[in-house]
């Protein structure tokens, strides 16, 4: 019997290749390609007066140097604004190579192509760029005051102002029995995948076609964007995503200047050209996230029920806005979490600064929103002397209110409607897992021993699986193997395993017969990309629907061969058989042969299959109307709206009374991502997310000085957690199926990171009795807070 694979801890099919060193990441390809390096601005804000290459021209191995002057036509125009929005009135994007002005340290000014990277960097160092300095705008406060401008034609540095309001929040707050205000901030962090970006372009002059390998989260859209930029017909461009060493959001942005330039240079030179980002380049020229300041006012009743909530925030979008307003829109909508204030007003400004641009990093604006909302919940509890879990419970949307319409517009331009979730049940599981009700005694005992321990919790809701669509193609080969492709890409999430589980179940074949390809436009042209925890929901549903189409076709073809009715057939272990009569059966490979009426019996499978072939009707064409040869199919999944996962974290910390060192003693997660395809993979996603949440709460801080220099642009100074910093993570699951898709799944990729700062702030506050308003928090920050803190 075929064992059902959906829901099983199936080991990953990717692993044997990757652990043995047989992975193929971007820099493992194209050993003989020319190497590119870029001259990047060392200044945050300047006009480029002159680029003098004369000293660089005699270096052995130099092939070409390009500046903006060389970029005629569309390739010389600004890069696309990928996600426009009516409120993004002043969107600005960079050029592939800076035209006349640089707006952050790291912006590319010239491209060098040489025999190898060593030589290319030698040449880059010899290119002399003259600058006329402009005042740098660094930080939200400086951007907001508007006295210096990042872009001359953007007044007040304001890219966008956006307001959404449900009810009259000001009036409701005024009319509430209690009200408070809070000023909160979150600093910048970054995705920081272990593999940086990179691109390899090969131009085939005979075929007039371009093949680009790039470490991206969206190969289909890179293809379209490159064709548009380079003035090529789309069908002359293919983009392949090799193994990718992590993405976490930063690789969804496209086309990067380097993707455009490497492709353009490969065409111009007629030789393969490769660029591989080094770590410093990744810090200063890719993208960051998180930086926001919030001013919050809220009113609540005697029971702790939040009635009115008004949030104004300022979002630092860095120097450019190619990814539109996705991050602040998500913050402004997902801030609400599992709660339902009577009235909600949110207004944000997205501001330019002379720093690396801001685009989604795992969580994508949600960690900030969660931090704000959970600070509000803790503030209400503190004011009324209520248990923090009780206050949350009183504010939850209840299961019988699902689907719940917030009356807001979400990041996909669709209404913010929660499809499902059981928040009280999630909280009950979390309280049980962490021992919430027993903790007061532990805290008291610790305090009696001179130790400071505290517990915190945080709740979030995550819109996952945003549209518009994903698709799948499945073909059963004549040897019975099943070839699956979907257009979105993979950066380590185990998509080959997860999608193979789904297809194997749907088709009734064993998993070792299924091969999955992602992110290769030669195989599948239509896709959106991997972001917003969407692969299981979107491509998972798409391949399930496709497999059902292929299954129906297999039954139809086999019904003729077996002289049985389709309704009487089933597929077991890769064979179509008559139910209850397994002797009468035909393997799927033979069905594939029959589905394709060839003239020639060219191999054993064909010869064997012909024995089952029923005599054809001489009055009908061999391929009937509406039919296609081959046992294959393509289908798409396009949801009406996002599906909403949720979860709650609880953390116990200890703070050192002398040094203010912060240690996590326990970290507990309850997570509801609907039905689970592979619990091992989901838990791995949660672990990784929590590690990034811990990093963002306690260690990681992108630090610019006033002149716009990124002073910690290395792994020595930007402190990503090692094994010594990440606690053991305890997980429990709740499975509330989504009604929106055929599998009942919700996304799981980003969840783990979202409530990290909120939960840890809550725990530190509990341990210290000091209100925490800014994250991340270092021991030095906490030490300073202690010195400044007065309980009033």
């Amino acid at each position: 019997m075929t064992t059902k694979l959906f829901g099983q801890r199936v080991p990953r099919v990717e692993d044997p290749r990757l652990v043995r060193g047989d992975g193929r990441y971007l820099d493992d390809l194209g050993h003989d390609a020319l190497a590119a390096a870029f001259v990047r601005s060392p200044h945050a804000h300047a006009r480029v007066v002159d680029v003098d290459v004369s000293a660089a021209l005699d270096v052995d191995g130099l092939v070409a140097i390009y500046t903006h002057e060389d970029l005629a036509g569309r390739v010389g125009e600004p890069l696309p604004l990928l996600i426009p929005h009516p409120t993004l009135t002043h969107g600005r994007t960079p050029y592939a190579l800076a035209k006349a002005e640089v707006n952050h340290v790291g912006e590319a000014i010239a491209m060098v192509v040489a025999a190898d990277r060593y030589v290319a960097e030698d040449v880059a160092a010899l290119i002399d760029v003259s600058y006329e300095f402009l005042p740098p705008v660094v930080g939200i406060v400086k951007a907001r005051d508007g006295s210096a401008l990042v872009h001359d034609d953007v007044p007040g540095n304001v890219a966008a102002t956006m307001l959404q309001e449900v009810g009259d929040a000001a009036a409701v707050i005024d009319g509430s029995a209690h009200h408070q205000s809070l000023s909160l901030s979150i600093e910048r962090s970054a995705s920081m995948p272990m593999e940086g970006k990179g691109a390899l372009a090969r131009w085939d002059a005979d075929d007039e076609s371009l093949l680009v390998h790039t470490s991206t989260q969206t190969s289909t859209s890179v293809r379209q964007a490159l064709a548009a930029k380079l003035g090529l017909p789309v069908d002359r461009v293919e983009v392949v995503t090799p193994d990718v060493g992590g993405g976490f959001g930063v690789k969804i942005v496209h086309p990067w200047p380097e993707e455009v330039m490497v492709s353009w240079a490969a065409i111009r030179l007629g030789r393969p050209v490769k660029w591989v980002e080094d770590r410093r380049e990744h810090f200063i020229s890719s993208a960051h996230e998180r930086g926001q300041l919030h001013e919050v006012e809220f009113g609540y009743d005697d029971e702790g029920r939040l009635l009115g909530l008004s949030v104004r925030f300022w979002h630092d979008n860095g120097a450019y806005t190619p990814y539109g307003l996705i991050v602040p829109i998500i913050t402004s909508t997902q801030l609400l979490g599992p709660y339902k204030p009577v009235a909600y007003r949110v207004e944000f400004q997205s501001l330019y600064t002379n720093t690396v641009m801001v685009t989604p990093y795992r969580g994508a604006g949600r960690p900030q929103g969660c931090f704000v909302m959970e600070r509000v919940m803790d503030a209400i509890a503190r004011d009324l002397g209520l248990d923090r879990a009780v206050v949350r419970e009183r504010n939850f949307i209840s299961p019988d209110e699902m689907p719940y319409d917030h009356g807001l517009i979400f990041q996909d331009g669709r209404p913010l409607i929660y499809d499902s979730g059981d928040f009280p049940a999630t909280l009950a599981k979390l309280k049980h897992l962490v021992g919430w009700d027993e903790f007061a005694a532990q805290r008291d005992q610790a305090r009696a021993e001179g130790r400071r321990v505290g517990i915190g919790l945080a709740c979030y809701v995550e819109g996952t699986g945003v549209g518009p669509y994903e698709g799948g193609h499945i073909r059963v080969e004549t040897d019975g193997s099943v070839v699956v492709s979907t257009g979105l890409t993979t950066q380590g999430q185990g998509h080959q395993t997860m999608l193979a589980q789904i297809v194997a179940d749907e088709l009734g074949v064993s998993m070792d017969r299924v091969r999955v390809t992602t992110g290769d436009t030669r195989r599948f042209k239509y896709a959106v990309g991997t972001f917003a925890s969407r692969t299981a929901v979107m491509s998972g549903s798409a391949v399930a629907l496709t497999a059902r189409t292929v299954r129906a076709k297999a039954l139809k073809v086999a019904a003729d061969a077996l002289e049985a009715s389709e309704e009487d057939l089933e597929i077991v272990d890769g064979h179509v058989q008559v139910k209850g009569s397994p002797g009468a059966r035909i393997d799927l490979g033979a069905v594939a042969v029959l589905s394709n009426p060839l003239r020639y019996a060219f191999d054993e499978a064909a010869a064997r299959a012909t024995q089952f072939a029923v005599p054809s009707d001489p009055n009908q064409p061999p391929v009937g109307p509406g039919e296609e040869p081959g046992l294959e199919g393509t289908d798409y999944y396009s949801p009406v709206g996002s599906t909403f996962a949720n979860g709650m974290h609880a953390v116990i910390v200890e703070t050192d009374p002398d040094t203010a060192e912060i240690t996590i003693l326990r970290y507990c997660v309850v997570h509801d991502c609907g039905t689970i395809i592979n619990p091992m993979i989901v838990e791995g996603q949660v672990h990784g997310g929590v590690a990034q949440g811990v990093g963002g709460a306690l260690y990681e801080r992108i630090e610019y000085d006033d002149s716009g220099q990124l002073v910690n642009a290395s792994f020595m100074d930007f402190l990503m957690p090692y094994a010594s910093e990440v606690p053991h993570i305890e997980i429990d699951h709740l499975e509330t199926p989504s009604p929106l898709n055929p599998l009942g799944v919700k996304g799981a990729g980003e969840a783990g990171v979202i409530p990290g700062s909120a939960a840890i702030a809550s725990a530190i506050e509990d341990a210290e009795g000091i209100v925490i308003r800014a994250m991340p928090i270092s021991p030095s920050d906490l030490f300073d807070l202690r010195g400044r803190y007065s309980p009033s």
Partner: protein, 166 residues
């Protein structure tokens, strides 16, 4: 400007002696990856912090991005490709990584495989804290390390069950 002078060196990588011609400034990591074309070793930071490029040089784990290839002349080097079983299947540490779901994107993994392989030569039966300490110099952005710690313990178990040998 003249081309860098080339130096003849011999490095034994995974038991195979390789004669390479490299400039003095060629990093060992680049020589392994681009000259010997063994791309299992990865480069994550090029400043010795992330550990992705860790290889075993004469028995000790070394960051190959912090070593010039010429200084490895005559050395015996093991990369993750060399941590396979003799028949090319997954070796004990690699097998443990799969069983414990200790990798996601797999980019940092080769550095962990070599680090752990070298560690288990010195401590065949580590405790959980020792296992965590052993990997605390390598960065992973995907897994949160919990399953890597489990894989260290599982690899030790597989090695003990299988008898001596990497």
């Amino acid at each position: 400007m003249s081309t860098d002078a080339l130096h003849d060196i011999t490095i034994t990588i995974n038991g195979v002696p390789r004669k390479l011609q490299v400039p003095a400034r060629r990093l060992l990591s680049d020589a392994i990856r681009h000259d010997a074309r063994l791309t299992g070793t990865h480069v994550g930071c090029e400043h010795g912090v992330c550990g992705a490029c860790t290889v075993i040089v004469d028995g000790a784990p070394v960051r190959s991005c912090l070593m010039f290839a010429v200084t490895a002349d005559g050395a015996d080097i093991v990369t993750t490709e060399g941590c396979r079983a003799p028949d090319g299947a997954m070796g004990p540490v690699q097998q443990a990584f799969r069983e414990c779901h200790a990798l996601q994107c797999g980019f940092c993994t080769p550095g962990f495989i070599t680090t752990i392989s070298a560690f288990l030569e010195t401590n065949a039966d580590p405790t959980e804290p020792e296992a965590r300490e052993a990997i605390a110099g390598n960065l992973c952005r995907c897994t949160g390390y919990q399953n890597i710690v489990a894989a260290v313990l599982r690899a030790a178990e597989i090695r003990r069950d299988a008898g001596p040998g990497r």
